[in-house]
Symmetry: C2
Subunit: 277 residues, 2 copies
Protein backbone atom coordinates (compact mmCIF):
# COMPACT_ATOMS: atom_id res chain seq x y z
CA UNK A 1 0.00 0.00 0.00
CA UNK A 2 1.52 3.33 -1.01
CA UNK A 3 -0.38 5.16 1.76
CA UNK A 4 -0.89 4.64 5.42
CA UNK A 5 -4.46 3.72 6.25
CA UNK A 6 -6.67 6.10 8.21
CA UNK A 7 -5.45 7.29 11.58
CA UNK A 8 -7.32 6.58 14.81
CA UNK A 9 -9.01 9.98 14.87
CA UNK A 10 -10.35 9.46 11.36
CA UNK A 11 -11.60 6.00 12.32
CA UNK A 12 -13.37 7.51 15.34
CA UNK A 13 -15.19 10.06 13.17
CA UNK A 14 -15.90 7.40 10.57
CA UNK A 15 -17.48 5.05 13.10
CA UNK A 16 -19.89 7.82 14.18
CA UNK A 17 -20.82 8.58 10.58
CA UNK A 18 -21.29 4.96 9.56
CA UNK A 19 -23.49 4.39 12.59
CA UNK A 20 -25.87 7.28 11.91
CA UNK A 21 -25.97 6.41 8.20
CA UNK A 22 -26.86 2.77 8.84
CA UNK A 23 -30.44 2.38 7.73
CA UNK A 24 -33.02 1.43 8.96
CA UNK A 25 -32.04 1.58 12.62
CA UNK A 26 -35.19 1.04 14.70
CA UNK A 27 -36.10 4.04 16.83
CA UNK A 28 -32.96 6.05 16.18
CA UNK A 29 -31.91 8.73 13.72
CA UNK A 30 -30.96 7.24 10.37
CA UNK A 31 -31.08 8.25 6.73
CA UNK A 32 -34.86 7.93 6.59
CA UNK A 33 -35.80 9.22 9.96
CA UNK A 34 -34.90 12.13 12.20
CA UNK A 35 -36.52 14.07 15.02
CA UNK A 36 -37.66 17.68 14.84
CA UNK A 37 -34.98 18.68 17.35
CA UNK A 38 -32.31 16.14 16.41
CA UNK A 39 -31.55 15.89 12.73
CA UNK A 40 -29.30 13.78 10.58
CA UNK A 41 -27.11 16.84 9.96
CA UNK A 42 -26.54 17.24 13.71
CA UNK A 43 -24.80 13.87 13.73
CA UNK A 44 -22.60 14.85 10.81
CA UNK A 45 -21.66 18.21 12.33
CA UNK A 46 -21.03 16.64 15.71
CA UNK A 47 -18.90 13.82 14.30
CA UNK A 48 -16.64 16.20 12.38
CA UNK A 49 -16.41 18.58 15.30
CA UNK A 50 -14.92 15.75 17.38
CA UNK A 51 -11.86 15.32 15.17
CA UNK A 52 -9.49 17.57 17.18
CA UNK A 53 -10.41 15.89 20.47
CA UNK A 54 -9.95 12.46 18.89
CA UNK A 55 -6.63 13.62 17.47
CA UNK A 56 -5.52 14.78 20.93
CA UNK A 57 -6.42 11.34 22.29
CA UNK A 58 -4.50 9.66 19.50
CA UNK A 59 -1.45 11.77 20.31
CA UNK A 60 -1.93 11.44 24.07
CA UNK A 61 -2.32 15.15 24.56
CA UNK A 62 -4.40 16.38 27.50
CA UNK A 63 -6.26 13.68 29.39
CA UNK A 64 -9.23 11.39 28.90
CA UNK A 65 -11.41 13.77 30.89
CA UNK A 66 -10.40 16.99 29.12
CA UNK A 67 -10.65 15.40 25.68
CA UNK A 68 -14.11 14.10 26.47
CA UNK A 69 -15.09 17.54 27.72
CA UNK A 70 -13.72 19.16 24.55
CA UNK A 71 -15.53 16.74 22.27
CA UNK A 72 -18.85 17.21 24.06
CA UNK A 73 -18.61 20.98 24.29
CA UNK A 74 -17.50 21.52 20.69
CA UNK A 75 -20.37 19.36 19.51
CA UNK A 76 -22.80 21.20 21.77
CA UNK A 77 -21.64 24.62 20.61
CA UNK A 78 -22.47 23.71 17.04
CA UNK A 79 -25.57 21.57 17.54
CA UNK A 80 -27.05 23.15 20.68
CA UNK A 81 -28.30 19.75 21.76
CA UNK A 82 -26.79 16.51 23.02
CA UNK A 83 -25.82 14.33 20.08
CA UNK A 84 -22.91 12.06 20.98
CA UNK A 85 -22.44 12.04 24.77
CA UNK A 86 -22.57 8.25 25.06
CA UNK A 87 -20.64 7.61 21.87
CA UNK A 88 -17.84 9.99 22.89
CA UNK A 89 -17.79 8.36 26.31
CA UNK A 90 -17.05 5.02 24.67
CA UNK A 91 -14.73 6.27 21.95
CA UNK A 92 -12.48 8.74 23.79
CA UNK A 93 -10.83 6.11 26.07
CA UNK A 94 -10.69 3.67 23.15
CA UNK A 95 -8.88 6.13 20.89
CA UNK A 96 -6.66 7.15 23.83
CA UNK A 97 -5.61 3.47 23.96
CA UNK A 98 -5.33 3.07 20.18
CA UNK A 99 -8.19 0.56 20.21
CA UNK A 100 -6.50 -1.72 22.76
CA UNK A 101 -9.37 -2.53 25.08
CA UNK A 102 -7.10 -4.23 27.58
CA UNK A 103 -5.28 -0.95 28.21
CA UNK A 104 -8.38 1.06 29.08
CA UNK A 105 -8.65 -0.09 32.69
CA UNK A 106 -5.06 0.92 33.49
CA UNK A 107 -5.50 4.28 31.82
CA UNK A 108 -8.70 4.92 33.77
CA UNK A 109 -6.87 4.09 36.97
CA UNK A 110 -4.29 6.74 36.07
CA UNK A 111 -6.96 9.44 35.80
CA UNK A 112 -7.58 11.86 38.67
CA UNK A 113 -10.62 13.53 40.14
CA UNK A 114 -9.99 16.32 37.62
CA UNK A 115 -11.06 13.92 34.89
CA UNK A 116 -14.23 13.16 36.81
CA UNK A 117 -14.93 16.86 37.18
CA UNK A 118 -14.46 17.31 33.42
CA UNK A 119 -17.08 14.61 32.78
CA UNK A 120 -19.42 16.31 35.22
CA UNK A 121 -18.92 19.70 33.54
CA UNK A 122 -19.61 18.18 30.13
CA UNK A 123 -22.76 16.58 31.51
CA UNK A 124 -23.98 19.84 32.98
CA UNK A 125 -23.51 21.63 29.67
CA UNK A 126 -25.33 19.24 27.35
CA UNK A 127 -27.68 17.51 29.82
CA UNK A 128 -28.12 14.07 28.25
CA UNK A 129 -30.76 11.73 29.65
CA UNK A 130 -29.11 9.29 32.06
CA UNK A 131 -30.28 6.65 34.48
CA UNK A 132 -30.75 7.56 38.10
CA UNK A 133 -28.13 5.86 40.29
CA UNK A 134 -27.59 5.53 44.00
CA UNK A 135 -24.01 6.72 44.25
CA UNK A 136 -22.42 9.73 42.59
CA UNK A 137 -25.47 10.46 40.45
CA UNK A 138 -24.47 12.87 37.67
CA UNK A 139 -27.54 14.95 38.41
CA UNK A 140 -26.96 15.03 42.16
CA UNK A 141 -26.47 18.41 43.79
CA UNK A 142 -23.53 17.34 45.89
CA UNK A 143 -21.73 15.15 43.40
CA UNK A 144 -19.08 17.81 42.72
CA UNK A 145 -18.25 18.16 46.40
CA UNK A 146 -18.09 14.39 46.78
CA UNK A 147 -15.71 13.99 43.83
CA UNK A 148 -13.48 16.72 45.26
CA UNK A 149 -13.60 15.45 48.81
CA UNK A 150 -12.97 11.78 48.04
CA UNK A 151 -10.71 12.48 45.05
CA UNK A 152 -12.87 10.16 42.94
CA UNK A 153 -11.10 9.34 39.70
CA UNK A 154 -12.85 8.00 36.61
CA UNK A 155 -12.17 4.39 37.41
CA UNK A 156 -13.60 4.62 40.90
CA UNK A 157 -16.63 6.46 39.62
CA UNK A 158 -17.36 4.07 36.76
CA UNK A 159 -16.89 1.05 38.97
CA UNK A 160 -19.98 2.19 40.88
CA UNK A 161 -22.15 2.41 37.76
CA UNK A 162 -25.10 -0.01 37.76
CA UNK A 163 -25.05 -3.09 35.55
CA UNK A 164 -27.83 -1.63 33.36
CA UNK A 165 -25.62 1.27 32.34
CA UNK A 166 -24.07 -0.63 29.44
CA UNK A 167 -22.12 2.41 28.25
CA UNK A 168 -20.38 3.11 31.55
CA UNK A 169 -19.86 -0.61 32.25
CA UNK A 170 -18.04 -1.08 28.95
CA UNK A 171 -15.16 1.09 30.16
CA UNK A 172 -14.55 -1.03 33.25
CA UNK A 173 -15.40 -4.36 31.60
CA UNK A 174 -12.95 -4.30 28.72
CA UNK A 175 -15.57 -3.43 26.13
CA UNK A 176 -16.81 -7.00 25.85
CA UNK A 177 -20.14 -5.88 24.40
CA UNK A 178 -18.42 -3.80 21.72
CA UNK A 179 -15.96 -6.62 21.01
CA UNK A 180 -18.89 -8.96 20.45
CA UNK A 181 -20.50 -6.35 18.22
CA UNK A 182 -17.20 -6.05 16.34
CA UNK A 183 -17.08 -9.80 15.67
CA UNK A 184 -20.73 -9.87 14.55
CA UNK A 185 -20.11 -6.92 12.25
CA UNK A 186 -17.00 -8.39 10.66
CA UNK A 187 -18.62 -11.78 10.11
CA UNK A 188 -21.81 -10.34 8.68
CA UNK A 189 -19.89 -8.00 6.38
CA UNK A 190 -17.76 -10.84 5.12
CA UNK A 191 -20.91 -12.84 4.51
CA UNK A 192 -23.13 -10.24 2.81
CA UNK A 193 -20.58 -7.75 1.42
CA UNK A 194 -22.89 -4.86 2.24
CA UNK A 195 -21.60 -2.50 4.92
CA UNK A 196 -24.99 -0.90 5.60
CA UNK A 197 -26.72 -4.24 6.09
CA UNK A 198 -23.89 -5.52 8.30
CA UNK A 199 -24.14 -2.47 10.59
CA UNK A 200 -27.93 -2.72 10.82
CA UNK A 201 -27.55 -6.41 11.69
CA UNK A 202 -25.02 -5.56 14.40
CA UNK A 203 -27.34 -2.92 15.86
CA UNK A 204 -30.24 -5.42 16.00
CA UNK A 205 -27.90 -8.00 17.51
CA UNK A 206 -26.81 -5.62 20.29
CA UNK A 207 -30.44 -4.61 20.83
CA UNK A 208 -31.35 -8.28 21.31
CA UNK A 209 -28.57 -8.80 23.87
CA UNK A 210 -28.73 -5.73 26.10
CA UNK A 211 -31.42 -3.61 27.73
CA UNK A 212 -31.06 0.00 26.70
CA UNK A 213 -30.59 2.25 29.76
CA UNK A 214 -32.13 5.24 27.96
CA UNK A 215 -35.24 3.19 27.23
CA UNK A 216 -35.31 2.09 30.88
CA UNK A 217 -34.97 5.73 32.02
CA UNK A 218 -37.73 7.00 29.73
CA UNK A 219 -40.18 4.09 29.43
CA UNK A 220 -39.38 1.69 32.25
CA UNK A 221 -37.98 -1.82 32.49
CA UNK A 222 -40.94 -3.62 30.88
CA UNK A 223 -40.64 -1.63 27.69
CA UNK A 224 -36.89 -2.21 27.64
CA UNK A 225 -37.45 -5.97 27.87
CA UNK A 226 -40.11 -5.80 25.17
CA UNK A 227 -37.68 -4.04 22.79
CA UNK A 228 -35.01 -6.64 23.52
CA UNK A 229 -37.38 -9.52 22.81
CA UNK A 230 -38.69 -7.95 19.62
CA UNK A 231 -35.08 -7.48 18.47
CA UNK A 232 -34.49 -11.22 19.04
CA UNK A 233 -37.42 -12.00 16.75
CA UNK A 234 -36.21 -9.70 14.00
CA UNK A 235 -32.69 -11.08 14.34
CA UNK A 236 -33.88 -14.66 13.87
CA UNK A 237 -35.48 -13.87 10.55
CA UNK A 238 -33.33 -10.97 9.56
CA UNK A 239 -34.24 -8.78 6.60
CA UNK A 240 -33.97 -5.03 6.06
CA UNK A 241 -37.70 -5.02 5.26
CA UNK A 242 -38.50 -6.66 8.57
CA UNK A 243 -36.25 -4.24 10.42
CA UNK A 244 -38.09 -1.37 8.72
CA UNK A 245 -41.36 -2.56 10.31
CA UNK A 246 -39.63 -2.70 13.70
CA UNK A 247 -38.41 0.85 13.08
CA UNK A 248 -41.93 2.08 12.35
CA UNK A 249 -43.17 0.52 15.55
CA UNK A 250 -40.50 2.09 17.76
CA UNK A 251 -40.77 5.49 16.10
CA UNK A 252 -44.54 5.45 16.60
CA UNK A 253 -44.06 4.71 20.29
CA UNK A 254 -41.30 7.27 20.73
CA UNK A 255 -38.78 4.63 21.79
CA UNK A 256 -35.19 5.37 20.83
CA UNK A 257 -32.50 3.00 22.10
CA UNK A 258 -29.69 5.55 22.02
CA UNK A 259 -27.23 3.59 24.15
CA UNK A 260 -27.38 0.63 21.79
CA UNK A 261 -26.56 3.07 18.99
CA UNK A 262 -23.56 4.18 21.08
CA UNK A 263 -22.42 0.56 21.45
CA UNK A 264 -22.80 0.21 17.70
CA UNK A 265 -20.34 3.10 17.26
CA UNK A 266 -17.70 1.47 19.45
CA UNK A 267 -18.29 -1.89 17.71
CA UNK A 268 -17.72 -0.23 14.34
CA UNK A 269 -14.59 1.52 15.63
CA UNK A 270 -13.09 -1.76 16.83
CA UNK A 271 -13.98 -3.46 13.54
CA UNK A 272 -12.35 -0.62 11.58
CA UNK A 273 -9.25 -1.01 13.76
CA UNK A 274 -9.19 -4.69 12.84
CA UNK A 275 -9.32 -3.79 9.15
CA UNK A 276 -13.03 -4.01 8.34
CA UNK A 277 -12.57 -1.90 5.23
Amino acid sequence: MPFESMNDAQLGVLSLLLEVSANPKPGNVDREHEFSDLKFEHFILSAISAYPAFEDCMNRRGSIGTNFFNAVVRSYEICRTNVHFGAFFLLIPLIWCGGKVDDVEDELKKTTHEDSLAILSAFRICKPRVMKVKELDLRGEKVKEEILEKKVNLYHWLEKSPKENVVARELVERYWRSLEGCTILRNRYEQCGNLNEAIVYTYIYLLSKHLDPLVIAKHGLDTAYYVKERAEEFLDEFSLEGVRKFDEELVKRGINPGSIADLTCSSIYLALKEGLI
Copy 2:
Protein backbone atom coordinates in the same frame (compact mmCIF):
# COMPACT_ATOMS: atom_id res chain seq x y z
CA MET B 1 -16.76 31.35 22.29
CA PRO B 2 -14.50 29.19 24.47
CA PHE B 3 -13.39 27.12 21.45
CA GLU B 4 -12.07 27.90 18.05
CA SER B 5 -14.49 26.97 15.32
CA MET B 6 -13.72 24.12 12.92
CA ASN B 7 -10.49 24.30 10.94
CA ASP B 8 -10.42 24.45 7.14
CA ALA B 9 -9.77 20.73 6.76
CA GLN B 10 -12.79 19.91 8.90
CA LEU B 11 -14.91 22.32 6.87
CA GLY B 12 -13.74 20.63 3.68
CA VAL B 13 -14.79 17.19 4.92
CA LEU B 14 -18.01 18.64 6.29
CA SER B 15 -18.95 20.21 2.96
CA LEU B 16 -18.58 16.81 1.24
CA LEU B 17 -20.73 15.11 3.88
CA LEU B 18 -23.45 17.74 3.90
CA GLU B 19 -23.61 17.58 0.11
CA VAL B 20 -24.10 13.82 -0.11
CA SER B 21 -26.57 13.89 2.78
CA ALA B 22 -28.71 16.60 1.18
CA ASN B 23 -31.91 14.92 0.16
CA PRO B 24 -33.49 14.58 -2.38
CA LYS B 25 -30.80 15.57 -4.90
CA PRO B 26 -32.12 14.71 -8.38
CA GLY B 27 -30.07 12.07 -10.16
CA ASN B 28 -27.26 11.89 -7.61
CA VAL B 29 -26.47 9.77 -4.58
CA ASP B 30 -28.37 10.98 -1.53
CA ARG B 31 -29.87 9.46 1.61
CA GLU B 32 -32.65 7.77 -0.33
CA HIS B 33 -30.81 6.73 -3.43
CA GLU B 34 -27.51 5.12 -4.34
CA PHE B 35 -26.14 3.11 -7.23
CA SER B 36 -25.13 -0.53 -7.09
CA ASP B 37 -21.47 0.43 -7.61
CA LEU B 38 -21.49 3.79 -5.83
CA LYS B 39 -23.06 3.78 -2.40
CA PHE B 40 -23.78 6.36 0.26
CA GLU B 41 -21.03 4.83 2.41
CA HIS B 42 -18.46 5.39 -0.34
CA PHE B 43 -19.01 9.13 0.01
CA ILE B 44 -18.56 8.96 3.76
CA LEU B 45 -15.39 6.87 3.54
CA SER B 46 -13.98 9.06 0.79
CA ALA B 47 -14.76 12.30 2.64
CA ILE B 48 -13.03 11.16 5.82
CA SER B 49 -10.08 9.74 3.90
CA ALA B 50 -9.44 13.23 2.49
CA TYR B 51 -8.77 14.82 5.87
CA PRO B 52 -4.95 14.49 5.82
CA ALA B 53 -4.70 15.95 2.31
CA PHE B 54 -7.00 18.82 3.32
CA GLU B 55 -4.91 19.33 6.44
CA ASP B 56 -1.74 19.48 4.34
CA CYS B 57 -3.40 22.13 2.17
CA MET B 58 -4.45 24.08 5.22
CA ASN B 59 -0.86 24.01 6.51
CA ARG B 60 0.62 24.65 3.06
CA ARG B 61 2.53 21.41 3.05
CA GLY B 62 3.31 19.78 -0.30
CA SER B 63 1.68 21.39 -3.31
CA ILE B 64 -1.78 21.71 -4.82
CA GLY B 65 -0.96 18.90 -7.25
CA THR B 66 0.43 16.44 -4.72
CA ASN B 67 -2.37 17.09 -2.24
CA PHE B 68 -4.96 16.53 -4.94
CA PHE B 69 -3.18 13.32 -5.93
CA ASN B 70 -3.08 12.17 -2.30
CA ALA B 71 -6.78 12.89 -1.75
CA VAL B 72 -7.81 11.08 -4.92
CA VAL B 73 -5.58 8.07 -4.37
CA ARG B 74 -6.46 7.60 -0.69
CA SER B 75 -10.14 7.73 -1.58
CA TYR B 76 -9.63 5.31 -4.44
CA GLU B 77 -7.69 2.85 -2.30
CA ILE B 78 -10.61 2.60 0.09
CA CYS B 79 -13.55 2.87 -2.31
CA ARG B 80 -12.07 1.29 -5.47
CA THR B 81 -14.09 3.69 -7.57
CA ASN B 82 -14.10 7.39 -8.35
CA VAL B 83 -16.11 9.25 -5.75
CA HIS B 84 -14.84 12.82 -5.33
CA PHE B 85 -12.53 13.68 -8.24
CA GLY B 86 -14.44 16.84 -9.18
CA ALA B 87 -15.15 17.87 -5.60
CA PHE B 88 -11.49 17.48 -4.59
CA PHE B 89 -10.48 19.41 -7.68
CA LEU B 90 -12.57 22.34 -6.46
CA LEU B 91 -11.81 22.06 -2.75
CA ILE B 92 -8.03 21.44 -2.72
CA PRO B 93 -7.08 24.86 -4.17
CA LEU B 94 -9.78 26.53 -2.06
CA ILE B 95 -8.48 25.02 1.18
CA TRP B 96 -4.91 25.79 0.06
CA CYS B 97 -6.03 29.44 -0.09
CA GLY B 98 -8.04 29.32 3.14
CA GLY B 99 -11.25 29.93 1.21
CA LYS B 100 -9.95 33.14 -0.39
CA VAL B 101 -11.08 32.71 -3.98
CA ASP B 102 -9.10 35.73 -5.15
CA ASP B 103 -5.85 34.02 -4.18
CA VAL B 104 -6.44 30.86 -6.21
CA GLU B 105 -5.31 32.28 -9.55
CA ASP B 106 -1.94 33.42 -8.17
CA GLU B 107 -1.39 30.09 -6.44
CA LEU B 108 -2.19 28.21 -9.66
CA LYS B 109 0.31 30.39 -11.51
CA LYS B 110 2.95 29.35 -8.97
CA THR B 111 2.39 25.64 -9.71
CA THR B 112 4.75 23.75 -12.02
CA HIS B 113 4.33 21.01 -14.58
CA GLU B 114 4.87 18.59 -11.69
CA ASP B 115 1.45 19.60 -10.35
CA SER B 116 -0.05 18.92 -13.77
CA LEU B 117 1.58 15.50 -13.85
CA ALA B 118 0.14 14.76 -10.38
CA ILE B 119 -3.36 15.58 -11.66
CA LEU B 120 -2.76 13.33 -14.67
CA SER B 121 -1.57 10.47 -12.45
CA ALA B 122 -4.62 10.84 -10.22
CA PHE B 123 -6.85 10.78 -13.29
CA ARG B 124 -5.21 7.65 -14.63
CA ILE B 125 -5.72 5.86 -11.34
CA CYS B 126 -9.40 6.55 -10.75
CA LYS B 127 -10.56 7.20 -14.32
CA PRO B 128 -13.47 9.58 -13.81
CA ARG B 129 -15.72 10.42 -16.76
CA VAL B 130 -14.59 13.72 -18.30
CA MET B 131 -15.47 15.73 -21.36
CA LYS B 132 -13.40 15.31 -24.48
CA VAL B 133 -11.36 18.42 -25.19
CA LYS B 134 -9.20 19.60 -28.06
CA GLU B 135 -6.05 20.50 -26.20
CA LEU B 136 -4.29 18.52 -23.47
CA ASP B 137 -7.11 15.97 -23.17
CA LEU B 138 -6.65 14.02 -19.94
CA ARG B 139 -7.25 10.80 -21.84
CA GLY B 140 -4.84 11.62 -24.64
CA GLU B 141 -1.91 9.32 -25.20
CA LYS B 142 0.63 12.07 -25.55
CA VAL B 143 -0.59 14.44 -22.88
CA LYS B 144 2.21 13.49 -20.50
CA GLU B 145 4.89 14.21 -23.07
CA GLU B 146 3.25 17.50 -23.92
CA ILE B 147 3.09 18.60 -20.27
CA LEU B 148 6.76 17.71 -19.84
CA GLU B 149 7.89 19.27 -23.06
CA LYS B 150 6.04 22.56 -22.71
CA LYS B 151 6.32 22.67 -18.90
CA VAL B 152 2.56 23.15 -18.66
CA ASN B 153 1.61 24.22 -15.14
CA LEU B 154 -1.89 23.93 -13.72
CA TYR B 155 -2.87 27.46 -14.61
CA HIS B 156 -1.87 27.09 -18.23
CA TRP B 157 -3.65 23.78 -18.45
CA LEU B 158 -6.89 24.94 -16.86
CA GLU B 159 -6.96 28.10 -18.94
CA LYS B 160 -7.45 25.85 -21.96
CA SER B 161 -10.44 24.04 -20.48
CA PRO B 162 -13.69 24.55 -22.45
CA LYS B 163 -16.40 26.80 -21.06
CA GLU B 164 -18.69 23.79 -20.50
CA ASN B 165 -16.23 22.33 -17.99
CA VAL B 166 -17.70 24.25 -15.07
CA VAL B 167 -15.45 22.51 -12.54
CA ALA B 168 -12.16 23.36 -14.25
CA ARG B 169 -13.37 26.86 -15.17
CA GLU B 170 -14.12 27.66 -11.53
CA LEU B 171 -10.42 27.52 -10.67
CA VAL B 172 -9.47 30.11 -13.28
CA GLU B 173 -12.63 32.20 -12.90
CA ARG B 174 -12.48 32.97 -9.18
CA TYR B 175 -15.17 30.44 -8.25
CA TRP B 176 -17.98 32.78 -9.29
CA ARG B 177 -20.42 29.88 -9.65
CA SER B 178 -19.61 28.58 -6.17
CA LEU B 179 -19.79 32.10 -4.72
CA GLU B 180 -23.25 32.48 -6.20
CA GLY B 181 -24.18 29.07 -4.76
CA CYS B 182 -22.80 30.21 -1.41
CA THR B 183 -25.00 33.33 -1.39
CA ILE B 184 -28.08 31.34 -2.40
CA LEU B 185 -27.36 28.80 0.33
CA ARG B 186 -26.86 31.36 3.07
CA ASN B 187 -29.99 33.31 2.12
CA ARG B 188 -32.13 30.21 1.86
CA TYR B 189 -30.87 28.86 5.18
CA GLU B 190 -31.57 32.16 6.87
CA GLN B 191 -35.04 32.10 5.38
CA CYS B 192 -36.09 28.49 6.07
CA GLY B 193 -33.82 27.51 8.97
CA ASN B 194 -33.45 24.01 7.54
CA LEU B 195 -29.95 23.11 6.37
CA ASN B 196 -31.05 20.13 4.27
CA GLU B 197 -33.69 22.13 2.41
CA ALA B 198 -31.27 25.02 1.86
CA ILE B 199 -28.67 22.71 0.31
CA VAL B 200 -31.23 20.99 -1.92
CA TYR B 201 -32.42 24.43 -3.05
CA THR B 202 -28.83 25.46 -3.84
CA TYR B 203 -28.28 22.28 -5.85
CA ILE B 204 -31.45 22.90 -7.89
CA TYR B 205 -30.39 26.52 -8.35
CA LEU B 206 -26.96 25.55 -9.70
CA LEU B 207 -28.61 22.91 -11.89
CA SER B 208 -30.86 25.60 -13.37
CA LYS B 209 -27.91 27.89 -14.14
CA HIS B 210 -25.23 25.59 -15.57
CA LEU B 211 -25.11 22.70 -18.00
CA ASP B 212 -23.54 19.67 -16.35
CA PRO B 213 -20.45 18.51 -18.30
CA LEU B 214 -20.90 14.91 -17.13
CA VAL B 215 -24.44 14.91 -18.50
CA ILE B 216 -23.13 16.39 -21.75
CA ALA B 217 -20.43 13.71 -21.94
CA LYS B 218 -22.84 10.83 -21.26
CA HIS B 219 -26.16 11.98 -22.79
CA GLY B 220 -25.35 14.88 -25.12
CA LEU B 221 -26.09 18.59 -25.15
CA ASP B 222 -29.86 18.30 -25.66
CA THR B 223 -30.33 16.27 -22.51
CA ALA B 224 -28.12 18.68 -20.57
CA TYR B 225 -30.32 21.59 -21.71
CA TYR B 226 -33.43 19.63 -20.82
CA VAL B 227 -32.16 19.02 -17.25
CA LYS B 228 -31.32 22.72 -16.87
CA GLU B 229 -34.79 23.78 -18.02
CA ARG B 230 -36.54 21.27 -15.78
CA ALA B 231 -34.47 22.55 -12.84
CA GLU B 232 -35.69 26.09 -13.61
CA GLU B 233 -39.28 24.87 -13.40
CA PHE B 234 -38.72 23.10 -10.08
CA LEU B 235 -36.90 26.14 -8.72
CA ASP B 236 -39.79 28.46 -9.56
CA GLU B 237 -42.22 26.44 -7.52
CA PHE B 238 -39.79 24.93 -5.06
CA SER B 239 -40.84 22.15 -2.71
CA LEU B 240 -39.03 19.04 -1.53
CA GLU B 241 -41.95 16.98 -2.83
CA GLY B 242 -41.59 18.49 -6.28
CA VAL B 243 -37.85 17.90 -6.23
CA ARG B 244 -38.51 14.27 -5.33
CA LYS B 245 -40.47 13.85 -8.58
CA PHE B 246 -37.60 15.39 -10.50
CA ASP B 247 -35.26 12.95 -8.75
CA GLU B 248 -37.39 9.97 -9.81
CA GLU B 249 -37.34 11.18 -13.39
CA LEU B 250 -33.55 11.60 -13.56
CA VAL B 251 -32.87 8.31 -11.76
CA LYS B 252 -35.17 6.49 -14.19
CA ARG B 253 -33.28 7.95 -17.14
CA GLY B 254 -29.85 7.31 -15.61
CA ILE B 255 -28.95 11.00 -15.61
CA ASN B 256 -26.66 12.07 -12.77
CA PRO B 257 -25.39 15.64 -12.81
CA GLY B 258 -22.22 14.95 -10.83
CA SER B 259 -20.46 18.21 -11.63
CA ILE B 260 -23.33 20.24 -10.23
CA ALA B 261 -23.01 18.16 -7.06
CA ASP B 262 -19.29 19.11 -7.05
CA LEU B 263 -20.19 22.80 -7.34
CA THR B 264 -22.62 22.29 -4.47
CA CYS B 265 -19.69 21.06 -2.33
CA SER B 266 -17.60 24.15 -3.04
CA SER B 267 -20.65 26.38 -2.45
CA ILE B 268 -21.19 24.73 0.94
CA TYR B 269 -17.50 25.09 1.80
CA LEU B 270 -17.55 28.83 1.06
CA ALA B 271 -20.75 29.25 3.06
CA LEU B 272 -19.23 27.39 6.01
CA LYS B 273 -16.18 29.67 5.77
CA GLU B 274 -18.53 32.65 5.96
CA GLY B 275 -20.09 31.24 9.10
CA LEU B 276 -23.14 29.38 7.78
CA ILE B 277 -23.41 27.36 10.97
